[in-house]
């Protein structure tokens, strides 16, 4: 840098997508994660209704924060009457709306004990839950201004966040009796291990194309977001990973709950730091 200092300029717009959007990401991880684990969890008694209700509640938390984040929330319906299908946000709105409808049907089928129909419908709901998870990576990919969101690993990270959050919620609610706990703990620990490895790769090994991206990584690792991001990595991934490793043979309900709460809190912190860091770097 040629000792250049900005001496007159307008105020930087700062964080445009803040914690409402983080809530969207976080709640959606749970809403889709429980369904992504459903093929294994429905083997346990009483799980069908529980899966659909958890997914429905967290999906609507997602949608609530999505609408609240709009500067014109009462115009949300424009998404459906003026659709622009090259916009991933618009595609996501349709996917999540369809997902919501399917979950209502699942709740009805589970409530009326129509397990066969419930399981058949899962063939439709499962790919929709998958799309609902990964479309956010496409949404971030369309943010041309924010290079760190364009990582090829963003979609796998969304899926891992979903399996991490889904297994964590099941463990906290002690779902599927003690039988499911070992498997859920392995899903939690495995998701945490892979997600952590990908984040470390992105930070230390992935080539950063621009100076802006370098600034963002600096903010996350050494700068003002260090506590939020590194603390989030420890809580979201390291704690569940260590708990899984130390209790692999004999997971106890209490350690599962501790690891799961840690994972959910840490996931929010990591997602929030990852979301706001690029927005702190001026674009012009």
């Amino acid at each position: 840098m040629d000792n250049a200092v900005v001496t007159l300029d307008v105020l930087h717009s700062g964080v445009i997508w803040g914690w409402f959007v983080t809530m969207n990401f976080w709640a959606k991880s749970i809403a889709t994660g429980v369904v992504l684990l459903a093929p294994w969890m429905i083997r346990h008694p009483g799980m069908r209704l529980r899966i659909a209700v958890i997914a429905f509640i967290f999906l609507n938390i997602t949608l609530l924060f999505t609408v609240l984040d709009l500067h014109q929330p009462l115009r949300f319906w424009h998404m459906f009457v003026y659709p622009q299908f090259r916009s991933v946000i618009n595609l996501g709105a349709w996917v999540l709306t369809l997902y919501n409808v399917l979950l209502v049907v699942h709740i009805y089928l589970a409530h009326t004990k129509r397990d066969v129909e419930y399981d058949k419908l899962l063939y439709v709901t499962y790919p929709i839950a998958f799309l609902g998870t990964v479309y956010t990576a496409g949404l971030l990919g369309q943010a041309n201004a924010r290079e760190t969101w364009h990582a090829a690993t963003e979609a796998p990270q969304m899926l891992l966040a979903a399996t991490l959050a889904g297994s964590a919620v099941f463990l906290i609610l002690r779902s599927g009796s003690d039988e499911a706990a070992p498997w859920l703990t392995k899903v939690l620990g495995g998701s945490a291990a892979i997600a952590l490895a990908i984040y470390l790769f992105e930070i230390y090994m992935a080539p950063q194309k621009s100076n802006e991206a370098g600034h963002v990584i600096h903010l996350l690792v050494d700068g003002e977001l260090r506590s939020l991001f590194v603390g989030g990595l420890l809580l979201a991934f390291m704690v569940p990973l260590l708990v899984t490793l130390f209790t692999l043979r004999r997971p106890t309900p209490s350690t599962g709950v501790i690891a799961s709460v840690s994972a959910l809190v840490g996931l929010w912190m990591v997602k929030h730091a990852w979301l706001i860091a690029p927005q702190l770097v001026p674009l012009s």
Binding site: M1, D2, N3, A4, V5, V6, T7, L8, D9, V10, L11, H12, S13, G14, V15, I16, W17, D69, L70, H71, Q72, R75, F76, H78, M79, Y82, P83, Q84, R86, S87, V88, I89, N90, A93, L139, Q142, A143, N144, A145, R146, K209, S210, N211, E212, H215, Q279, V281, P282, L283, S284
Partner: protein, 213 residues
């Protein structure tokens, strides 16, 4: 017709007449801008220099804001201008995240996204954009890039390698050019933004975006 813009930075003297004219013409609210002139001081005393860079929407040929808008509020006009329909905008700010030039703002009064549209209403009436008219040195040059005889086309031809755009690596094909622009002029990471009261004003961050607190 492809309307484009060019700023000859050798002619710009940082008077901000363009900025004021834009604010007035388009009734741009406080804490928002369609066009701004940024000052960057370089060097060490006594070898110092001040750069002035007018910045506005690049009216990209491959506009990421237009693709990201979920309701087609951002759209192309026949003359290549990327315009915005405020009545359709839902204020999701996807366009603000998509624009690599930070050229879109959330209007704090209407709570919808807004940006420079090269004074599309004036062009429709056969007038030049307000900033072009206000520039006392003729540094702002506006015209049809498809017309080889337009002033802007000739300027680009004559200046060859001296003509640059901001962030060409983003693949947006900007239709806003600069002549005599250095990295310090065009690359935001080539200068420091030191928060606090600086030589002329406060360098800082907005308290809120649009009407959101």
């Amino acid at each position: 017709m492809r309307l484009g813009y060019l700023v000859d930075l050798d002619l710009c003297m940082g008077c901000k007449a363009c900025e004021v004219a834009c604010k007035s013409e388009n009734e741009v609210p406080l804490n928002a801008w369609r066009l701004r002139v940024k000052y960057v001081d370089t060097g060490i005393y006594p070898e110092v220099k001040r750069n002035f860079t007018p910045m506005r929407c690049n009216q990209c040929e491959s506009a990421p804001c237009e693709r990201a808008c979920p309701v087609s509020a951002l759209h192309y006009l026949d003359n290549g201008i990327v315009d915005i329909d405020a009545d359709r905008c839902i204020g999701c700010a996807a366009c603000m995240q998509a624009c690599p030039y930070g050229a879109i703002y959330m209007d704090p009064e209407s709570n919808t996204a807004d940006k420079c549209n090269y004074c599309a209403h004036r062009i429709e009436g056969g007038l030049e954009p307000a900033c072009v008219v206000a520039c006392p040195t003729g540094a702002n040059i506006f015209g049809d890039l498809d017309d080889p005889n337009s002033v802007i086309s000739r300027y680009i031809r004559e200046n060859g390698d001296q003509t640059r755009v901001r962030k060409p690596e983003k693949g947006t094909k900007p239709k806003h050019f600069y002549v005599a622009g250095s990295d310090t002029h065009l690359d935001p990471t080539a200068s420091r933004r030191e928060p606090g009261v600086n030589l002329f004003n406060r360098i800082g961050t907005l308290d809120h975006i649009g009407g959101h607190h």
